[in-house]
């Protein structure tokens, strides 16, 4: 049934978009770092999973257990060593934005360069969990379902974590108003470092998951960075529910356009949808108007 196909495809696609964007929501929404090296980190994690899988025979699911904590630690260090000086010298949010764009632009090249030296510019992929589940005549690959599942669990889990726990409340406070957060004795820098590292762990997780069904090479990071930025901005900066909804919306748009209109227009329609939403809601779907 075409409509079921389109729905399920849209769901898995949208889940992937949301999954890819969740980490950036934290990094940009809370830590205020516009991380242009985001996609490169995703690709690096994909390569790590590939290497663990084809080199050591370690399943990507076990790989997650290794890659994710490592990414968390690396991102935490990154924030502490590289970004804190920028945060310290920034006079305003706008200044930090410019500085973080410049710094992570440099970082982008470094990460990509390291991947290039290790793996070259070639395409890589492997198959894992490529089996198929049949839902009402529409087959769905397990690995894509897994990515969708992770997106939902991570999105909702983080949403609950942020809204229902003390630590989460502190993070949200930092996102909304760092100065006021400081006044109520929240260690803003620690909170931002935590958010950045958490975002790094999430992007690594999505890199591992996505590597199970996409072909990747060292140059593809930018594609993911931009996709993630679109989803984050469309959902409203720092809003996890928005991120999930925006991702799914884009996924559905893409699969319905491909099925019923013209597959050549999928990306065009996605961007048009994004632009339209911003015109109607200048702060994204769930964004608050800033003062």
């Amino acid at each position: 049934m075409p409509i079921l196909d389109a729905l399920l495809n849209g769901l898995t696609l949208g889940g992937m978009y949301a999954l890819v964007a969740v980490g950036l929501t934290l990094q940009y929404g809370v830590a205020r770092i516009m991380n242009l090296a985001y996609g490169e980190c995703l690709i690096a994690a994909a390569f790590a999973a590939y290497w663990l899988f084809s080199g050591l025979g370690l399943s990507p699911l076990l790989g997650l257990g290794l890659v994710v904590p490592l990414a968390f630690a690396l991102h935490w260090l990154l924030y502490r060593l590289l970004l804190v000086p920028l945060v310290r010298r920034a006079k305003s949010r706008a200044a930090l934005e410019v500085d973080s764009i410049l710094a992570t632009f440099g970082l982008l090249f470094i990460v990509e360069g390291i991947v290039l030296v290790l793996f070259g510019g070639n395409y890589y992929n492997y198959a894992y969990l490529a089996g198929v589940l049949d839902i009402g005549g529409t087959p769905l690959a397990y690995n894509r379902l897994l990515a969708l599942g992770f997106a939902l669990v991570l999105g909702l889990g983080l949403y609950l974590l942020l809204t229902r726990t003390r630590g989460g409340t502190a993070l949200r406070a930092v996102a909304v108003d760092p100065v006021a957060a400081q006044l109520v004795a929240i260690d803003v820098r620690a909170a931002a470092a935590l958010a950045f590292a958490l975002g790094g762990a999430l992007v690594a997780a999505s890199g591992v998951l996505v590597s199970m069904f996409l072909t990747f090479n060292a140059a593809m990071g930018v594609v993911f960075t931009m996709k993630a930025l679109i989803v984050v901005i469309m959902g409203g900066v720092g809003n996890l529910a928005g991120c999930l909804v925006a991702g799914l919306l884009l996924g559905f748009a893409e699969s319905f356009v491909a099925t019923y209109l013209d597959p050549g227009l999928t990306i065009a329609v996605n961007f048009a949808l994004f632009l339209f939403i911003l015109i109607v809601r200048p702060n994204g779907l769930f964004g608050r108007a800033s003062a």
Binding site: F105, M226, V237, L275
Partner: protein, 322 residues
Amino acid sequence: MTLRQLLLLTAGVGLLAAAALTPLIGSGYAMSMAINLLMFTALATAWALFSGPTGYISLATVAFFGIGAYTVAVVGEALPWGLVLALAAGLGFLVALVVGLSTLRLRGVYFVIFTFGLAELIRQLVTWYEANHAGSVGRFVFLDISQAQIVWQLTAVTAVVFLLGALLQRSRLGLTLRMIGDDETVALHCGANTTAAKLLAFSLSAALMALVGAIVAPRWTYLDPTIAFNPVVSFQVLIMALLGGAGRLYGPLLGVIPLVLLFEYLSAHFPNHFSILLGVTFLAIVYLVPNGVAGLAERYLGRPRPSQPAAAAPAQPKEGTS
């Protein structure tokens, strides 16, 4: 005219003259470098005409650049060259006008990503049109335009960009743009029609970018949407302008020169470690030159306006200015 302005003017004219002379005395490679430097200088300075004072950071550079290039690909052989260039600039201006009407109420990062999305949307639409209605997605540009002519045309456009920038700074439009950058609400309540000012500046800057795209297009023989609308160009221009300092007319130039030379040096010497070294150097620059190259230069050459508290401390007003 102060001594400082005179110096800047002389330096500017000297640089442009040097660029214009490369075809006469330099090799094809020197011309190639001149084209690269001029292209990015014109683009980054045109970018800063609008984005510098207003603080609206645009990633749509390549949308307009690509529109210019595509104009050449489509009508380059059918029309006289002057008309092609005029058409390219006109199209860039018009598209920016339409886009600006819907976009310019977005602020901050929403504007940044919107402009990026816009460039991608245009690329996708051009691709779709070409694939379904033009028969092939690639286009060939065979025009009798030599490298030397490209250098001279770019020199002329760069001169125009700077001239326009200088005029803009002295004009009420320039003042309005700076007010918008500081506080748009205040600007509005001072009687400034900010929407018109933003639209005009955005479109002017877009027209110039389209012009640059049109001039450079014959150099590549072959164009497709991926080449013409390559988002990397937008990022490069943004980074160069920000690094140089987008607040001054000559700021972007100070970012373009070191970065183009750095790119070139690293590509020529470390083709296998280009990325890593570029990244490391870039980070070093960001950390060591916090206020942009223009800020660094001014620390040593003196500031145009006494805006440092130390410089203006007890400050009897200068009689000369009133």
